[in-house]
Symmetry: D3
Subunit: 67 residues, 6 copies
């Protein structure tokens, strides 16, 4: 009964890519732990780059500086 939450920046991720993320991480649960995929939930959170920080700066700011 795994629950997986994926947080990524909101960089125009397509529905197809989201499908691949869901399929991929679910398969890892099946392969490694033998989990039932019908009992495996995946939730993807897309986060604005203003709202994600690293190194004490937002991703928006880091990208403007070419980091």
């Amino acid at each position: 009964m795994p629950f997986i939450n994926i947080k990524i920046t909101d960089d125009n991720v397509t529905s197809e890519q989201k499908q691949q993320l869901i399929q991929g991480v679910t398969q890892v649960m099946v392969d490694v732990l033998g989990k039932n995929p019908e009992r495996t939930f995946v939730v993807i959170d897309e986060v604005n780059t203003d709202n994600w920080g690293i190194g004490g700066e937002s991703i928006t700011s880091r990208r403007q500086q070419g980091k």
Copy 2:
């Protein structure tokens, strides 16, 4: 001092329904554990059906297939 996070799909949940969710889960904390409702936080996350997976597929895809 409970904190409750509810994740649901974004299926046109009304403000009235959100009020009922907040009221209901807060009451459970009061009834079962004697918690102070003024110190009980509830946060509802509404998740796009493209971003919620089960059985290795998005909810969007499952609904298209009538699952």
Copy 3:
């Protein structure tokens, strides 16, 4: 397909109380949104009072002060 995460302090919550929390919040999802309980997950996190803060202090410290 709701997912509910309940965070509470680790104050000797019994298995019976956890059952009541799980039963209660699941019922709220059924009553308010018509959700399928077999697709409703609840995860309870019990947090040490050293690790929970409010008002800029840990709960441990607040209790020592009679707050």
Copy 4:
């Protein structure tokens, strides 16, 4: 390698304020635990006031009542 998730109501928080939140909490990790800021992630979630409850009511409802 800390990960910090900040949940606040979506009250027109500016990009500048988000930068200050990210900078501030990252600095706390550096000052208290000597963490590497380049390995410190901060994610800010802005939550609609309909979706945040306290005292069994939404923040929207509480503000309408002047609470």
Copy 5:
């Protein structure tokens, strides 16, 4: 800069299996979104079966009933 949180029941998952979970989900981020693995964090939460509910019951209780 993905952050992935995996919640599973605490069923004697080995260090080797945890390594495989971490390796597997990180690779999905690389393959699908081209993410930098050195900027991909994975956190595994192991949850006691008393603290995980489905169908309004704890996993502990469901297992006792042979569900």
Copy 6:
């Protein structure tokens, strides 16, 4: 009404350090957003180094390799 969740590795963080983390991040909320500290919750999760991955490896494994 902020809620802040801090995830760190379980490296013998002392109660005093936890107090400083709680005090520090709460003060950031007060300084930047004018939030009421009595309505600001902080929850610290200490994560075993087997359960935290970066670069596709657990922290335990990386430390053994001197990374």
